[in-house]
Amino acid sequence: MKKVYINSVCAITPQKTFDNTQFLEELIEYDANVINVVNPVYKDFIPPAAARRMAKGIKMGVVASKLALKESGLENVDAIITGTGMGCVRDSEKFVSAIIDNDEQFLTPTAFIQSTHNTVGGQIALELGCKGYNFTYVHSGISFESALLDAKMQLELDEAKAILVGGVDELGDHTVAIHKLVNHIKSENINSNALLESKTQGCVFGEGAGFFVLKNEKQESSYAEVVALNTYNTLDEESVNEEAIRFLEENNIEASSIDAIILGNNGDVNFDGYYNKLTSKTFKDIQQIYYKHISGEFNTASSFGLWLGARIIKSQILPEAVKLNITETSKFKTILLYNQYRGKNHSFTILKQC
């Protein structure tokens, strides 16, 4: 079996993360319960006429994939695999409301077409002229991990040499409004630095895109090796720690050799307990890292977690802003990632220096 390497990364998030010459040195602090991305200049990458028609999710996906491709030094890839929890949700909202408001009359197809979940993957294929394998996974908090797993399997078996993998989700007004009503979004504004102390229900919604070129050959620009990945539809809080250990054992890795753990804490008092189970037991004394206080929560936010892990391993720099505890750790060779959303759809990923 071949090894799988992350050879390039690009993240568009509510921080200025799309420029890889910087690494979270300058942060935007939010006092909010919904935060939007810092937009790259889309017209530098997409002709303005085309960009005007494109949903934000498509623009984020297309630009993030172009930047990732550029960094990898490739012109094209063998496959494009995308994860998205909600797809281009604004177009879904636009089409549903138009159906209701106009009693099914005077509708135009653009919003319907863009509401299709695989629109982003399809548009990237169009932009790149890529006729290869093109899948879109749409499973809440593991949408991105499903895409990553698919890519990893193909690369390990050498069915493909280079794959573009990404996660993307955009915010929509109606979606935000109704998720506030069911307390999936915090009712109060919260400062980025105080997210985990909030002790209230719900999280801060964000949006973003994270794209990566994965290959089964190492190159100069390689960030890290994706060693293993597992997803779970269910997992109870009491067995998370045990499952983490089992997962590491399966991959012949000692818990003590983990240099850092990247966690998906989103400040929801009802569900952060899963992470606390890890940080109070096996991973108590190792470097703990979190990121949703600066990116917000979205179904594919864990793509930003992967971006963070890959960049830490390559640069051996741990930005202050993402430290969850204070340790003396200075070498980052093996990083474990764990994420879940609302107690469902859990994932463990192991990254290793290459």
């Binding site: 209701i100 695989n118 093109n134 749409v138 499973h139 698919d150 997803t231 779970y232 539809n233």
Partner: protein, 400 residues
């Protein structure tokens, strides 16, 4: 030559039957499930025809024994019913005895509830339970729960009308690579105003019965359905002494990279998908005994697919037909429905007629199979194509 992945169970619910036996009976009787719209209140009801399932949501609730406060979408109801049938058909009593996953496919997800309660959510508390049921993964989570799948790989694919074919493909690869011992694969989509109006704006809905591969075809009929297959590793088949219904022999996905919603004139993506699937199966075009075509009866699809078939098979195009005239186009479920039909065709050595065909298309001289045909079948190819240039081919075989 690569070895096929065993199919050991299947379940289905569609406009032509509530289980596998009923679907097969309708197929051989030439009985269509296409009618005027009955279950959805749409202003288009007199100008379109659809393939609806004649069971209400309330009846599904009862059938599944769900509490009154459940938040199932119709997509989840259909999926749960079909997936449970598949598990029973495979003779599985202890689902977690082997590492079992679920790969489902949907495009509509919980949109039926969303479009009903969209503005009510803002003012009424009661319907808000459906907010969490909107996203596409929710129906899969519920199906997994119904099957008792825990702590395992459960995910959802949404690539428009090729979704379920892609779920079968991913599932087969998970078995081959040893990630899972057993996987339930397929798709589910219910009827919704969203899709009715979406396809209406694209002007590809027929005002009468859809007529695949006919010169005067006027577009598709939407359908609702769910279908699932159980795939098991050779080790499980051996240990449990399982009867194998058929094998997933080959598969491929390719992208047309031509247009967001239209297929290229010459079917580049479709050609690639069929060729790659043959390669994965280690087969030649001459080995295919029957093609269950995508054949949606839109002007664009049937021309593009027909040309792609000719590009792959040359002068020796095998018998082919589309079963969309029976069920309507069931979107993300279509690849699952047609997988079940392909397995049934292999089991019974039967080719289904391409109903409603009258006039030969002028762009080429291939004609679909028009009558029920008995013929020894070893290998069947099934095509599914979707928006976003998504083209998928799955090959089913009698022998591994």
């Amino acid at each position: 030559m690569s070895k096929g992945v065993a199919i050991t169970g299947m379940g289905i619910i569609s406009a032509i039957g509530n289980n596998v036996a009923e679907n097969y009976q309708s197929l051989i009787d030439g009985k269509k499930g296409i009618t005027r719209v009955e279950k959805i209140d749409t202003i288009h009801k007199d100008v379109i025809m659809v393939g609806e399932i004649d069971i209400t949501n309330e009846a599904f609730e009862k059938k599944l024994g769900l509490a009154k406060d459940n938040n199932y979408s119709r997509t989840a109801f259909l999926g749960a019913v079909a997936a449970k049938q598949a598990i029973a058909d495979a003779g599985i009593t202890n689902i977690n005895k082997y590492k079992t996953g679920l790969i489902s496919a949907t495009s509509v997800g919980g949109m039926d509830r969303t479009e009903t309660h969209y503005y009510n959510y803002l003012t009424e508390a009661e319907p808000r339970k459906y907010i969490d049921g909107h996203h596409a993964g929710d129906s899969s989570q519920k199906i997994a729960e119904q099957l008792g799948i825990e702590k395992s790989l459960v995910t959802t694919i949404s690539t428009a009308c090729s979704s379920a074919a892609n779920a079968i493909m991913f599932g087969a690869r998970l078995i081959k690579s040893g990630q899972l011992d057993r996987v339930v694969v397929g798709g589910t989509d219910c009827m919704s105003k969203f899709t009715i109006n979406g396809f209406k704006t694209l002007m590809i809905l027929s005002d009468t019965y859809n007529t695949p591969f006919d010169e005067n075809r006027k577009g598709l009929n939407l359908g609702e359905a769910a279908a699932f297959l159980v795939l098991e590793s050779d080790a499980v088949v051996k240990a449990e002494n399982k009867t194998v219904l058929a094998y997933v022999k080959g598969y491929a996905n390719a992208n047309d990279a031509h247009h967001q919603t239209a297929s290229s004139d010459h079917g580049d993506g479709a050609t690639l998908a069929m060729e790659k699937a043959l390669k994965v199966a280690g087969l030649e075009p001459k080995d295919i005994d029957y093609i269950n075509a995508h054949g949606t009866a839109t002007g664009n699809n049937d021309l593009s697919e027909g040309r792609a078939i000719i590009r792959v098979f040359g002068d020796n195009v095998p018998d082919f037909s589309s079963t969309k005239a029976y069920t309507g186009h069931t979107l993300a479920a279509a690849g699952g429905i047609e997988a079940v039909y392909s397995v049934l065709a292999l089991q019974n050595n039967i080719i289904y007629p391409n109903l409603n065909f009258k006039t030969q298309m002028k762009e080429f001289n291939i004609t679909p199979q028009l009558t029920l045909k008995e013929k020894h079948l070893d290998v069947i190819m099934s095509n599914s194509f979707g928006f976003g240039g998504n083209c998928s081919t799955v090959i089913f075989s009698k022998e591994a």
